[in-house]
């Protein structure tokens, strides 16, 4: 039986879809049979990030409505045979979701795959609730800013109140990813530090991902950064994926500013 990870944030645009794509590739690279499901019905994005937009014929709503079998809608990821992708509908909206249909699709996926990532929509509306209802664990993505933290705090509260596991008195595991960390701004005190964020949310830290220009290029080319050795964010996603697969991977300090020795001494001269 697979584990369902829902990737949530509360606030929009913080990096859920980017995280979903990279972690799914990451666990597939670790040899886990993985599927990543776009639950952002009406605003699908994940197909583009994965470079699969030309391959989408059937999406999750077709499966839920019984138009096609799950197998026909699952799209293989060319760059890794362990990974499959299930697209969201771009034409319908989130009202097509209902608990029974969602449960049916997810329980089928649970039989086939070890890791199931759900890319949840922003906000805390019904689409979000469907995306977290059957979650075994949630991965909360935040940016180091107060509005993102407060919105994610709210989303976590809803997971604890409304998900199926919580309602059965069980615990939904909750992990934190801090995305778009900019060391310069952290040092200047203009960005919340990881300690501040963990102090507010009190959930387990899964990893920190730096701000990385390569991510933006990657989104446009459909070649996620985890496949790019040169990308610092890509390496961060790789570490996180290994942690998800049960490996003990030490946390790397990405919050301190790194100056080369020469640059440092030149800077000193001007202080």
């Amino acid at each position: 039986m697979g584990i369902i990870f829902s990737i949530i944030s509360g606030k929009g645009g913080v990096g859920k879809t980017t995280t979903a794509a990279n972690l799914a590739i990451g666990t597939a690279m670790q040899g886990k049979k993985t599927v990543v499901v776009d639950f952002d019905i009406g605003q699908r994005n994940l197909d583009m990030i994965l470079g699969l937009e030309n391959r989408v014929v059937y999406d999750i709503t077709h499966v839920m409505d019984g138009d096609v079998r799950l197998r026909q809608a699952l799209i293989p990821f060319k760059k890794n045979e362990n990974l499959y992708f299930l697209a969201a509908s771009q034409t319908k909206d989130k009202t097509v979701l209902n608990k029974e249909k969602v449960e049916k699709v997810l329980s089928e996926l649970k039989k086939e795959f070890e890791y199931i990532f759900i890319d949840a929509p922003a906000g805390i509306e019904s689409g979000f609730e469907h995306a977290v209802y059957f979650a075994d664990a949630v991965i909360v993505v935040v940016n180091p800013e107060v509005s993102s933290i407060r919105d994610s705090d709210r989303a976590i509260g809803i997971v604890d109140a409304k998900s199926k596991k919580s309602q059965e008195g069980k615990r939904v595991a909750k992990y934190l990813i801090i995305n778009r960390i900019n060391p310069d701004l952290v040092q200047k005190g203009e960005m919340l530090s990881s300690e501040d964020i963990l102090d507010i949310l009190e959930i387990d830290l899964l990893g920190k991902v730096p701000e990385d220009q390569i991510i933006i290029e990657a989104s446009n080319t459909g070649h996620p950064v985890i496949l790019n050795e040169k990308s610092e964010a890509g390496r961060a996603f790789k570490r996180i994926s290994r942690r998800l697969c049960g490996e003990e991977v030490p946390f790397v300090d990405i919050e301190s500013v790194k100056h080369s020795g020469l640059l440092k001494s030149i800077k000193k001269m001007f202080q």
């Binding site: 407060r150 919105d151 705090d153 709210r154 509260g157 809803i158 604890d160 507010i200 009190e202």
Partner: protein
């Protein structure tokens, strides 16, 4: 004849200095709209213009006879052993004890007492006999309709009523440490 009966929350303010009053009111405009201000002391034209421009309701130098409510029957206690997170609202007649934090964006409203073991960054509105909590940087505390906004972050307070007056005490250990720190 038609009669409507309302309860209004009156905030009584003794004005000693025009500027000081405006400084107090300005940041709280949205909150103060829920109150009828009973202004005492020197209500200058500038103050009146300001209040009218912002749509605040007020009366001047009026003695209001209040009916003291009979002592409440003993309420019970609600204990929350989880973080009260942003967006959660608790409305209750019971006393509330939070064993963990109350985060920014959470609201707890009780007609009774409130105790938090963790830091309070949310909004607490209580009308009981006392409150005990540690003030976080964002905590907003309203006790018997008084906004207590000069509390210092990181300190533990006991706030209670004594002869209709609000008494604010800081709680410290004998060695001067904050009691909830260890």
């Amino acid at each position: 004849m038609r009669i409507n009966q309302y309860s209004v929350s009156v905030m009584e303010i003794m004005i000693e200095d025009e500027e000081e009053f405006l400084r107090f009111v300005r940041p709280k405009l949205p909150l103060l709209k829920g109150y009828l201000l009973n202004l005492k002391g020197d209500v200058t034209p500038k103050i009146e213009d300001f209040l009218q421009a912002h749509g605040l309701q007020y009366i001047k130098n009026t003695e209001i006879s209040t009916i003291r409510h009979a002592k409440r029957s003993k309420n019970s206690v609600e204990v929350y052993d989880r973080i009260i997170r942003s967006g959660e609202e608790i409305n209750t007649h019971n006393s509330v004890i939070c064993l963990r934090k109350v985060n920014d964006g959470a609201l707890i409203r009780t007609v009774s007492n409130f105790i938090a073991i963790g830091r309070v960054d949310g909004t607490i509105e209580a009308n009981g006999d006392f409150l005990i909590f540690k003030k976080g940087p964002k905590g907003k505390i309203i006790f018997h309709n008084m906004i207590l906004d000069d509390l210092v972050e990181g300190r533990v307070y006991k706030i209670h009523l004594e002869n209709n007056e609000i008494i604010i005490e800081e709680i410290k250990e004998e060695n001067g440490n904050n009691i909830f720190d260890n």
